[in-house]
Symmetry: C2
Subunit: 392 residues, 2 copies
């Protein structure tokens, strides 16, 4: 059904835009010269495939089929030090399926990697963020998105209506170790997990580490350690094997070896596909923090909680992907949640969405070393093609 | 025996040199204009008391009695934001005892607070550090001690031989909460605790906090937390109520809420009066770190260990202080270790040493708020005088 050779050739050609010179790595952040050049190249490819090129003010690049179609794609911008497949795979796979099957439109969203925010291009297209709001976002060096997007101004054709698309399917590398570890070839995503993220502060009493007896200390690091241990224990009966939680950021004050830490600020992040479970975990976190603070004489301060709701994949689209997976890789695929955010989260506001994963070797992503066996890449495209055929 | 009014008047006058304008706080770092002015004022006081003024190249200021004498004192330099008693109390108390009892010489050591190192002035006087080595030490703004000590050059009289002193007694505020909490007036120091300090690194695997399942993580923060919990447990049967241990510094890498920490560097410091116990604690620390690293797939790296040995107070001098304490504050004094370093640690290389504590209100020191009830200050001087009388 699909032309594997053509697909792989295009995928390799795309990585020449912003090639890092280290392995297959790419440096192609949103609106960089390499990103814009890649989008211009993609546009010629879309045209050659008989698709009508449309670009909105953000630089989201569409290749639109005649009549109603299924939208497929991902993003072609990369992390500052990115792999060749993160996003690019989904775009070139969609192009190949559009060429092979028809009834398929293609998209490459802009700034999925968040130079200016989080999945910025699809956030604007889906109405989660207005263009005026997005224009004010700044990157780490202080450049505003409104200024940066002048780089794609010459390509812009106008707004792109979502009404012409019956659904959105995104193929992506897993970016985690599950498929690589199990030796499976395909993951059909059940849901994109929701995220909760909050900043917690314990404030105790800064003291001399020589003259303050242990029983009179109000040591903020000890409070964090006790909170962490208690939380791990209490979560046991609440979580599933795919639930994750992380203390990734911690800063002690004054952070000196001879001083009992008076203050600890840390991040508490947790993710799960079930909003109800996220809520139960929140209750446990707040209760545990309050109990530890009370027991250890800490002032507890919980910052604003960032929340992104879990997104269920559409049953119809997902069923088509599952049948495709079973046809292409019988017994070598699984249903699984996506622990990472994707453009599909935003697009789900507009239409039914579904996602497909192929393995990441060693679970590595957001690094030049990111890679996937080419047979797995081709298998992913074949499942997409099977699914599209099945939907007709 | 002593003149309490004269003693308190001098102590208050000393705080006018470098007065912070906040409470009784002082800003009088080593070799600052305020420090040099205070030393010149002290020299006139020493002369008026019939003592011969002697100043060595470091700026250590002595008031020397005729014939053999007991040396008493502390330091008159302060922390960058210091209290009025830290060091100053010991110097003015020694002056008052010298005036009242005779047979007593007085010293104000230089840079006890470590603008350039740790107890720098007494380190050079005791031969722990050569003057040439000390001259190369730099403060936080890059000024070398060799340049800074030009500020006292006009006062220098030459080397001061320790042979003329039969022992050293230092009165100091406790800088901890023990006496204030118990309502006691005097602490007779049994030993100055030894310190061990090392940097430990756990290196695991940095990963995406969304896509990496809990059971596949090698989370460096979790390793530190587990190490801490296990250590607290294992120390139980080894430590005494005055043993202390602290994780005061911790840095996670990359320290971001969405990333499983791949690396943690932290300080492990422990203090005790018994060198053998310090050694047993070191063994437990090293074993526990190795076991945690093994169990959690961490690469363990232990940096160089800083070690300062405990110093026992001299039995004879200490006995005189104990008898003095019982005479002045019957039933309201205790024997206790010093958890902080003092000049006496260095001086113990040259002669018998002993130390006496008075309470710190709220255990506060190294802050403008540092204070002690004047009745306790006077009690401290009275114990010193009793002890000197008892030694004759």
């Amino acid at each position: 059904m699909i032309n594997a050779e053509r697909f792989l050739a295009d995928l390799h050609e795309l990585r020449s835009f912003g090639a890092a010179g280290v392995g297959k790595g790419v440096v192609r952040p949103a609106y960089s010269d390499a990103d814009v050049a890649a989008r211009r190249w993609l546009a010629t490819k879309f045209e050659a495939a008989g698709l009508r090129v449309a670009v909105d003010a953000m630089g989201n690049l569409f290749g639109i089929a005649q009549g109603p179609s299924v939208l497929m794609g991902s993003h072609s911008d990369s992390q500052p030090e990115g792999g060749w497949l993160d996003g690019a795979l989904g775009v070139i796979a969609a192009l190949e399926v559009a060429r092979s099957c028809g009834g398929v439109s293609v998209v490459s969203f802009q700034d999925e990697e968040g130079r200016f925010g989080v999945t910025t291009g699809s956030a604007v297209w889906s109405g989660h963020l207005t263009l005026a709001e997005a224009d004010l976002l700044k990157d780490h060096s202080g450049v505003a998105l409104g200024a940066a997007r002048l780089a794609v101004q010459g390509m812009v054709t106008g707004e792109v209506s979502p009404a012409q698309f019956s659904g959105f399917i995104e193929l992506h590398i897993e970016q985690g170790p599950t498929l690589d570890t199990s030796g499976e070839q395909i993951g059909v995503v059940t849901d994109i997990v929701g995220i909760r993220d909050m900043k917690i502060t314990f404030e105790g009493q800064q003291n001399h580490a020589g003259t303050t007896p242990m029983h009179l200390r109000r040591d903020a690091f000890q409070a964090v350690a006790a909170f962490n241990a208690e939380l791990n224990e209490r979560f046991r009966n609440v979580v599933t094997p795919s639930t994750v939680w992380t203390i990734g950021h911690l800063s002690l004050h004054p952070n000196a070896s001879s001083i009992v830490p008076g203050k600890a600020v840390f991040s508490m992040q947790w993710r799960d596909g079930d909003a109800e479970r996220l809520g139960r975990m929140e209750t446990i976190i707040r209760d545990t923090a309050a109990e530890i603070a009370e027991a250890r004489g800490m002032i507890l301060n919980s910052g604003t909680m960032l929340g992104l709701e879990p997104v269920q994949m559409d049953a119809g689209l997902r069923g088509a992907l599952e049948r495709g997976a079973e046809a292409v890789a019988p017994g070598r695929w699984r249903k699984m949640p996506s622990g990472a955010l994707h453009d599909a989260t935003n697009v789900s506001r507009l239409m039914p969405v579904a996602m497909l994963f192929v393995p990441s070797i060693g679970g590595i992503s957001h690094a030049f070393e990111e890679d996937t066996d080419e047979t797995d890449l081709v298998a992913g495209v074949e499942v997409l093609a099977q699914a599209v055929a099945g939907l007709k």
